[in-house]
Structure formats: C-alpha cells, structure tokens
C-alpha cells in the first residue's frame, strides 16, 4: 500500500541542477517549491512524482450491509480515482508540483481564495482520510483516555453522537462532517464543511470524518440521509484509527496539565 503513494517530499530530496541557475528575477506567483532533479555528469534525469490512489484498509465487500461493495467500487474505484487523475493532470505543469498531499491542501487553499488544484487535492486527502475512518465490524465506541476526552468535551458519548448527527442533517449541499481537535481551544469539536473543505485549512487536527456528498450514500440509502449517518456512527466508525490519530495529535496539542509527581 505504501508504494502506491510515490511522493518525494522537498524535505527528503533537494538536488538542483548546477549548470542552469534559475534567474533571480523569475518569481512564480505560487509559493516557492523545490523541484527534484538528479544530476549526472553528462546528462540529467528528471524524476517526476505523482499522487497515487491508496487502497482502503479493507476489502470492498467488508463493510456490507452498511456500505455496499457496489458503492465502494464506484466511490473509491471511480470517484476517488478521478480526483487522483484530475490532480495529477493539473499538477504536471503547475508551480505547485512537489508538495506532499497535506501541504498541497493547505497551500492551494490560499487562505480562503483557493487555487484550482484545491478541490482535487482536498478531495483526494479527504477520501484517503475517510477510508481510514471506516472499519468493518468495528468496536461500537471509544475507550480509555479518548472516551474521557469525548466525555469532557461533549458531556457524554451519546451527546457527541447526537451532535454529529445534527451537524450532518443540517448541512445544505455537499460536504463533510468532522470530529477534530481545535488547536486553539484544545478541545474536540464537531463541525460540518462544504464541498472539499477540511479542518487542515484551519490549522486543526482531524480525528474522524463522514462523507456527506450524495455519491457516498445514494446507492445504498437514496435520500435517507439520517439512516446513513446513524448507521455510520453506530456501526462503521473506526475508533482504533481515531484513537491513533488522537494519540498523534497530543504530540502537537497539550490537552491537560502534566501530572508532575510531588516529591
């Protein structure tokens, strides 16, 4: 799975051709990117990397009966693939070449005035994140420290579920519902976003998501959004993933006072 994502981050490789210096007056209108070139003695070979389609961490029929194989074949196989293909086409000759996907989402958002690449990049990232948020035969609720955090920020686990469903039902149009960690407030929050927007663009840390675009549920639930959302929150959530993301998030956000033992 990891080899399908062949991306070369600027942090990893940063060779530049020495025999053709970039003109100092040439300033791209996008932020500066590093291009990747391997320098050979008499010829140079350009290595070009593209974004790839990652597979969901389960077989396409594993989420039945809650999410059918047919839905996943179209949602992943065609829709998600189209975002990958669309983005690679856009990036091929764009100054935005060379970012990791997460960086590209933030850069192309451009503080609310998104570049054309944003939609494909963000939807690509969103769907990668979404597949990892689903789990066949998952546990029904979180446990331990994560559950404590949810109870702290929402009152109770069922309050959180109600909040989540209410946000999903009040979304007008296409979008997503997120459980994410707000860095500034240091708490978990549930919020909906339109179209491709995700909490990364606000500088926050997503923990779980639900795709509320009609293509995510129309095949299985037609117009019954409420049934889809409730089925997700009760049967399909990967609390393992959420817990792992939460653990990683705590490296960036201090959620409480450290327990310093008194001598």
């Amino acid at each position: 799975m990891s080899f399908q994502h062949l991306q070369i981050s600027p942090a990893v490789v940063s060779y530049r051709r020495v025999d053709s210096p970039k003109s100092p007056t040439c300033r791209p209108k996008y932020p500066q990117v590093n291009t990747v070139n391997l320098h050979r003695s008499w010829k140079s070979t350009k290595v070009v990397a593209y974004y790839g389609l990652t597979s969901p961490p389960f077989q396409l029929d594993a989420l039945e009966p809650y999410m059918s194989q047919k839905t996943l074949e179209i949602h992943w196989g065609k829709q998600h693939q189209s975002y990958v293909d669309g983005l690679n086409k856009q990036i091929a000759n764009s100054p935005l070449y060379g970012y990791t996907l997460e960086e590209l989402v933030k850069v192309s958002y451009n503080n609310g005035n998104p570049f054309p690449e944003f939609n494909n990049a963000a939807q690509l990232w969103n769907h990668d994140f979404f597949w990892e948020s689903l789990q066949p035969n998952g546990v029904k609720m979180p446990w331990g420290g994560f559950l404590e955090q949810i109870e702290k920020d929402f009152g109770s686990f069922s309050n959180f579920k109600e909040n989540f469903v209410a946000e999903a039902m009040s979304l007008f149009g296409s979008g997503w519902v997120w459980l994410f960690l707000k860095k500034t407030d240091k708490k978990l929050v549930v919020a909906k976003t339109s179209n491709a927007i995700n909490p990364l663009v606000w500088g926050d840390i997503p923990i779980l998501s639900l795709d509320m675009w009609e293509h995510a549920y129309y095949q299985d639930y037609k117009d019954d959004k409420e049934k889809y959302v409730n089925t997700f929150i009760n049967n399909l959530v990967s609390w393992h993933s959420a817990t792992a993301r939460m653990a990683r998030a705590e490296a960036f956000v201090n959620l409480g006072e450290p327990k310093i033992p008194v001598a």
Binding site: K78, G173, S174, H215, Q219
Partner: protein, 254 residues
C-alpha cells in the same frame, strides 16, 4: 382602528379609542383581519397575514416518460422525496418565520434565512426543472425556433455552442448546484450562469429570468450515470422542453 407598525422590530400595535398602544400578537391580528377582510387597512397588512404555503407541483408526464435519458427510479425519488422535502421544510421555515416576526425576534428571523433560501430555492428551482423536461413524444429535445432560436444564435453562435457551454460549466461546478440559461431583462441578452446548492438564479442578478435550469446535484443522475456527470449533461438535451423556454422568453422579452 388603525395599525402602527414599528419598523425597528416589526412589532405591530393595534390602536383605537379603547385599545391604544397594546401590542397585538399575530394570531389576534389575523382575527381582526378576518373580520375586516373587505376593508383595506393599509400599512402592508396583508404581508403580516398567514404566510402562503407552497405545494408540490405535479409532473406533466409519468416518472418513466423520460427514459432512457433519465430513468423512472431517479424521477420518482427526485420528485416524491427530494422536492417534497424542500416543500415541507420550506413551509415549516415559513411558519417559524411568521412566529418570529410576530414576536419581534429579529435574531431568529435572520437565522431562518438559510433554511428559507435552501428549501425555498429548492422548491423554486425544481418547479422550473420539471417544466424544462418533456418526453420526446411531447417535443422533448426539439430545437428552439423563432425568437428564442434567433436569440441563442445571436448570443452564442449556435445551439450547439450553447449546449457545449452549459455542459462545460455544469461539469466544472464543484459540489452541488444548478446550471442555467438565463435571460437578462435589463441587458436584453442571454447568458449561462451557475448557482451553488439550491440558490435560485435571482441570487446571481435581480434581472435574470430562468429559461432553462439543469440540476447537477448528484441525486439528479447518480443512480444512472454514477460519477459521469458529463454523460448526463450530454444526454439530457434529448428531453429538454424548449417550448416552455420559448414561452418564457417571449413573455419576458415582449
């Protein structure tokens, strides 16, 4: 008796020799109006009466009449579930709006605008959409002639060009929305516009009249075309009812 309307908070006060200065609720005002129906009371009182609710309009054709372009299952769910939900929720929002106006709760009035725009827009847009479609046997797909045909040739070069533009704009629309052929009453020309979600065409310009609207929400095509929105747009021209668009154009451009 006379009615004073406080412009700041829409509170209405019924005044008369006996009832001077007592604020009246919407309910009791309705009772007054009912009694004084035949007398014009002034101050735009009719706007404060019970809000007119909307109903789901019937289709002029069977659900399966547009096959194979749009299948019967989509038409049935689209009309019976989606459009009906917009109608229901719009009426609900109007009820809540009336209550909020009656109470003078400005925050609530403004807070309801989102639901009104979405559900009301959904009702308006879909009502136009059903008229924009017709089975082939009733003229669906027949090219426009006379004044609309000439106007299209003038504005876009040819009907083909117009179709290409609408298809391109419709396919490029991110998320959910509509693509329109609009008539600008002020500039007296045709143009192609898109609106997001359920925003009606008028949000793009007060002078714009919708001649043709194509729903590019996924619910309009997903069951049949899946993610291939361009194919849906290419095919829908077979069932577009140009007769209706021509009627509207003739009326507005007169």
């Amino acid at each position: 008796m006379s009615l004073l309307v406080d412009p700041c908070c829409c509170k209405t006060t019924l005044t008369s020799s006996r009832f001077f200065g007592i604020p009246t609720s919407a309910m009791s005002m309705r009772a007054v109006f009912a009694k004084n129906k035949t007398r014009g009371l002034g101050f735009g009182l009719r706007q404060v009466r019970a809000m007119q609710t909307v109903t789901l309009p019937d289709l002029d054709y069977d659900f399966s009449a547009l096959e194979p372009t749009i299948n019967g299952e989509i038409m049935q769910i689209h009309h019976q579930k989606h459009h009906r939900a917009y109608v229901t929720n719009y009426n609900k929002a109007l009820e809540q709006l009336e209550e909020a106006i009656g109470k003078g709760d400005s925050s609530k009035v403004v807070g309801l605008q989102g639901a009104i725009k979405f559900n009301g827009g959904g009702h308006v847009n879909h009502s136009i959409f059903w008229k924009n479609l017709a089975p082939k046997k009733d003229g669906g797909g027949e090219a426009p002639h006379q004044s609309l045909g000439w106007a299209i040739d003038t504005s876009f070069g040819s009907l083909d060009n117009l179709m290409k533009k609408i298809n391109a704009d419709g396919a490029a629309l991110q998320g959910s929305g509509w693509v329109w052929l609009a008539y600008d009453k002020e500039l007296k020309n045709l143009k192609v516009e898109t609106t997001p979600n359920q925003d009606p065409l008028i949000t793009k310009g007060q002078n714009l009249v919708p001649l043709l609207g194509i729903d590019v929400w996924e619910h309009a095509y997903y069951l049949q075309y899946q993610n291939m929105r361009p194919d849906y747009l290419k095919n829908i021209w077979d069932v577009i009812n140009w007769k209706y668009a021509s009627q509207v154009y003739k009326k507005e451009s007169a």
